[in-house]
């Protein structure tokens, strides 16, 4: 129907036009929500139509405009980005269904602004996924930051605005303060910022500057939440749960680790980077982040904050996998992006459902809630198992690949970290699940409640199912992602 480059353009235009449509339909909630859903479905269909092309080895391109001499706004779809875009656009449908339930069930204000910003954030995610060079990626990265600010600050009270300030401050600060100079530095070295298989920096920079540049990238991409720039993610939890679910478990944070993986693979080039000793730095940082965040998560009682710290750890899995720089682990990185996405969105959906139904946010008050909300808590358990990495969930698969990479590299630090964090994950998830199903209710809810509104339940069950499906049907995805190693 459309050419491939038109499809790329469309995947930006659809959410953009959708945002306008939502703004115009703001006065009629039903029309507005219809527009949102339609946009989401159209976007997903559009993005998914590219899947076969990319799978077959095609790399659709779109050259938009020369922004600076030699630097253009250009798009190029490759397996990593394809996966990210397909994931984000697909989950947007589910999330929209869920949002409708959540926002109405909670009687939130400013719903139009919410949906408009959401659509723009999705457009930014698509832009990041398909970007053909670092400049384009950076542009959409910033659009994503700015467009999610109103979502985080949604409630508008003093505490929320303060948290949103932290969110904005860290993300903009790291990107402008570190990522931008890293980019300009790269540009002045290589004369280009195009994502090129095999990298563009080979032989153009030497130690110890490689280490410095690497760190500038690793911390410049604040969205990857490596410690110590992780604070924005817990701060973002003041947002409504659908935002935490899609953006701060999928789109935004995945954009971060996605960017880091892309930088490793297409800017540095894994062979070149592997030859430089300083790539170990990133491994250490990632391991450190995994362990420390798990310990912090252990001490959290607010469910969403707990999930946030879990996310920080899981993101570092991806960074760790990418920085091991072995074929298996690179595939593992992309697989884990996907597995974690399904699992974490389920967890957030469940947390939101609990909040809407019972207004509870603290896990100490949630004993016995599994009896009132069996579907929700069942889905939650699936998500948690995936986080721990137990079969039959997606988390098992991706962890398997990562472990494989670590073994190829004889990287015992990574192995030890993976094992330790699995235990820690289990330590903070399993007691809560047991308590939810097996214990008596300790805090009576204000009103007698059952499950949350049906759209939410449908959504969270779907994503829980997807976690299973990923376990069963992961092979095509692994094949697709193996293509990123081709030069």
């Amino acid at each position: 129907m459309f050419t491939e480059s038109q499809t790329i353009l469309l995947s930006l235009l659809i959410p953009f036009i959708g945002a306008f449509g939502i703004a115009l339909a703001g006065r009629w909630p039903n029309v507005r929500e219809t527009v949102t859903l339609t946009t989401a479905v159209l976007l997903a269909a559009n993005v998914w139509s590219l899947l076969p092309v990319v799978y077959a080895g095609g790399r659709p391109e779109l050259h938009f405009v020369d922004m600076l001499p030699g630097l253009s706004i250009a798009f190029r779809v490759e397996p990593l980005g394809m996966l990210f875009a397909a994931l984000a656009s697909g989950l947007w449908i589910v999330n929209s269904v869920y949002s409708i339930g959540y926002m109405r069930g909670n009687d939130e204000k400013h719903q139009t602004r919410f949906y408009v910003c959401f659509a723009i954030a999705l457009m930014a995610a698509m832009g990041i996924a398909f970007s053909g060079n670092m400049l384009t990626l950076f542009i959409f990265y910033e659009v994503l930051t700015v467009s999610t600010y109103p979502l985080v600050a949604h409630k508008g009270d003093e505490a929320t605005v303060r948290s949103a300030r932290v969110y904005m401050g860290i993300l903009l600060g790291t990107s402008i303060g570190l990522l931008l100079p890293a980019m300009i530095w790269t540009y002045s070295l290589a004369g280009t910022l195009d994502f090129t298989p095999g990298g563009i920096l080979d032989g153009k920079i030497a130690e110890p500057l490689v280490g410095l540049l690497l760190l500038m990238y690793a911390y410049g991409v604040g969205k990857a939440a490596l410690m110590p720039v992780q604070r924005w993610l817990p701060a973002a939890m003041v947002a409504p749960t659908p935002v935490s679910a899609l953006l701060h478990a999928v789109a935004v944070v995945k954009a971060g680790v996605f960017t880091i993986t892309k930088v490793f693979v297409y800017i540095f080039g894994i062979d070149f980077l592997f030859s430089q000793p300083s790539h170990r730095l990133v491994i250490w940082i990632a391991c450190f982040t995994i362990v420390v965040s798990s310990f912090i998560a252990l001490r959290q009682t607010n469910l969403k904050r707990l999930l946030a710290y879990s996310t920080i750890g899981q993101l570092s899995y991806v960074v760790l996998a990418a920085s091991i720089l072995k074929p298996l682990s690179e595939v593992g990185a992309s697989m884990h992006m996907m597995a974690h996405a399904f699992g974490k969105i389920t967890l957030f959906f469940a947390a939101g459902a609990i909040y809407v139904a019972s207004k509870k946010t603290d896990i100490t008050e949630m004993r016995g809630i599994g009896r009132r909300m069996p579907w929700t808590m069942a889905a939650f358990s699936v998500g948690a198992l995936s986080m721990i990495g137990m079969p039959p969930t997606g988390g098992f698969i991706s962890k398997w690949y990562i472990l494989g990479g670590a073994i190829q590299d004889d990287n015992y630090l990574a192995l030890a970290t993976l094992v330790a964090s699995t235990l820690l994950n289990a330590a903070y998830f399993l007691p809560f699940i047991f308590a939810a199903f097996l214990y008596e209710e300790n805090v009576k809810p204000k009103k007698d409640h059952g499950e949350a509104p049906w759209p939410m339940v449908v959504a969270l069950t779907t994503t829980a199912l997807l976690t299973f499906c990923f376990f069963l049907f992961h092979q095509p995805i692994a094949d697709l992602e193996a293509q990123i190693l081709l030069k």
Binding site: V65, M67, L68, I73, M168, G177, L180, I184
Partner: protein, 496 residues
């Protein structure tokens, strides 16, 4: 001589010819119409000149038919064409935008002098940009300054008068410094033509007067350009001038002084004074770095929106000065592009402020709570401008910062420090821009606040958005300014 050959002279002649007419028009609205017609005409002329010089050629027009160095010549290359577009364009945009707002702020009685002064201010700034004669720059500098004093003093608050007085004193000192510098140059070379000066300075053996001339000219222009710490006149002049006047002078007037500084320091002194780039860097770089921090910090603590933007201009002028201090093609390109881009950004932002002031009758940030909902289009324009100040990609601010950082990276070890300074100041910009956004979007208006009439009238909104969209366009495709600026930077450094 075809009309086409006469374009450079017409650039000046059209406004000079119109100003006395505008002064005599006493009917309602006519002075405005005359001014707009003249300024739009000059904008068209400068665009067609820019189209000619973008290929890299230089236009020389001999005033009165007398060749240089005996007569005065106009000398237009890529750089001057870019600045001429900025001056005439911002002037035209502000006038069109201000049709309603000015009728509101400027009394009927002074309208003829006000608009005649506006035309002459445009002519003066354009004249400074296109002339090739050092003394002629002084004459047109005075035309632009004196008319700016009139424009500023038309502000409604009595503090406008004090601001004007300070501006007069500082502006005159700056201009006189420049005149002293030109005097010493004349003493050493016997000529006033810039090209001839550049050629003859090479033979001068007694360098002291030349060196001192360079100092006087640079400091005098720094005073007129409000480079920190010589900025004291500027915040109040911007704050208390009529809103539309602020749009124009914030966009154009300081830039022209910076342009002249570049012209004289590079085209004349750079090749002829040994180590001039070092002297320039030692003078300008500390001022620029201080400006970046002090301007941003002052903006962060400011409660008046117009003054906040004025302090932000202090910081932004710091960027330009920093680029000038780098003496490299990338640095100068960054400085030149930023002159242009900052003009577009700040112009758009002050337009948004004028819209807000029209409805809220106040520019105190605290009073603007809820403006995001009451005036969504105006605030959106403001936000986009603010993102430009921060240097977020897709805004013109990003392009200029790109070049500045590129230039800084070429400076080696000290360059890394400069990169940090540039980026740190961008982050400070986040704070002061966000401060406004938070109030406008996330604060509920006070219960006893008067209800707002709603969005600004379309006659104001449309020009504002044209400027904002121009900004976005320049952020996406900056071919024209970047090409002209690179050409200009190469010419200044003698690379071509």
């Amino acid at each position: 001589m075809t009309l086409y050959d006469q374009l450079p002279a017409l650039l000046i002649a059209v406004p000079l010819f119109t100003a006395p007419i505008a002064y005599l028009l006493r009917a309602h609205g006519l002075p405005w119409a005359a001014a707009t017609a003249a300024v739009v005409m000059t904008f068209i002329i400068s665009c067609s000149i820019a189209a000619t010089v973008i290929g890299g050629e230089t236009i020389v027009y001999e005033m009165g038919g007398w060749p240089a160095p005996y007569g005065i010549v106009l000398h237009i290359d890529a750089l001057s064409a870019l600045l001429a577009m900025l001056v005439t364009g911002s002037s035209a945009a502000a006038l069109i935008f201000g049709a309603k707002s000015l009728a509101d702020e400027v009394g009927e009685e002074i309208a003829p002098s006000f608009f005649a002064a506006w035309i002459l201010c445009t002519a003066g700034l354009t004249g400074m940009v296109v002339t090739g004669d050092a003394f002629n720059i002084f004459v047109f500098m005075e035309i632009s300054s004196l008319s700016t004093y009139i424009l500023v003093s038309a502000g409604p608050d009595r503090r406008a008068l004090v601001a004007t007085y300070r501006y007069i004193v500082m502006g005159t000192i700056g201009a006189t410094f420049y005149l002293i510098g030109v005097g010493f140059l004349y003493m050493s070379t016997g000529t006033l033509n810039t090209m001839d000066l550049a050629a003859r300075l090479g033979d001068v053996t007694e360098l002291r007067p030349v060196l001192v001339a360079a100092g006087f000219i640079t400091v005098g222009l720094a005073l007129k350009a409000a480079i920190f710490p010589l900025h004291s006149w500027m915040p109040n002049a911007y704050t208390f001038a009529p809103n539309v006047v602020t749009v124009f002078i914030a966009a154009a007037s300081a830039k022209v002084s910076l342009y002249v500084m570049m012209r004289i320091d590079y085209a004349i002194f750079y090749k002829n004074i040994p180590n001039h780039e070092l002297q320039l860097a030692l003078l300008l770089a500390p001022m620029a770095i201080l400006a970046l921090f002090a301007g941003s910090m002052l903006a962060i603590y400011e409660r008046n929106l117009k003054r906040l933007l004025a302090y932000s201009s202090v910081a932004q002028v710091g960027y330009i000065a920093l680029g000038i201090a780098m003496s490299s093609v990338a640095g100068l390109t960054g400085a030149i592009v930023h002159m242009f881009n900052h003009g577009v950004i700040k112009g758009g932002m002050f337009m948004a402020v004028a819209c807000l002031a029209l409805r809220y009758r106040s520019v105190n940030i605290a009073n603007l709570a809820g403006a995001g909902r009451a005036m969504p289009w105006t605030m959106a324009a403001f936000v986009i401008g603010g993102l430009g100040l921060i240097g977020v990609p897709l805004t013109p601010g990003f392009i200029s910062k790109w070049y500045l950082v590129l230039g800084a990276l070429e400076q080696g070890g000290f360059g890394a420090f400069l990169v940090m300074v540039i980026l740190a100041s961008s982050l400070l910009a986040v704070i002061y821009v966000w401060k406004v956004i938070e109030v406008a979007y996330f604060k509920e208006p006070r219960a006893n606040a008067a209800p707002i009439e709603g969005e600004a009238p379309l006659v104001m909104l449309i020009p504002t958005w044209i400027v904002v969209l121009t900004g976005i366009w320049l952020g996406i495709n900056s071919y024209v300014p970047v090409t002209l600026a690179t050409l200009g930077a190469e010419t200044l450094l003698g690379a071509r």
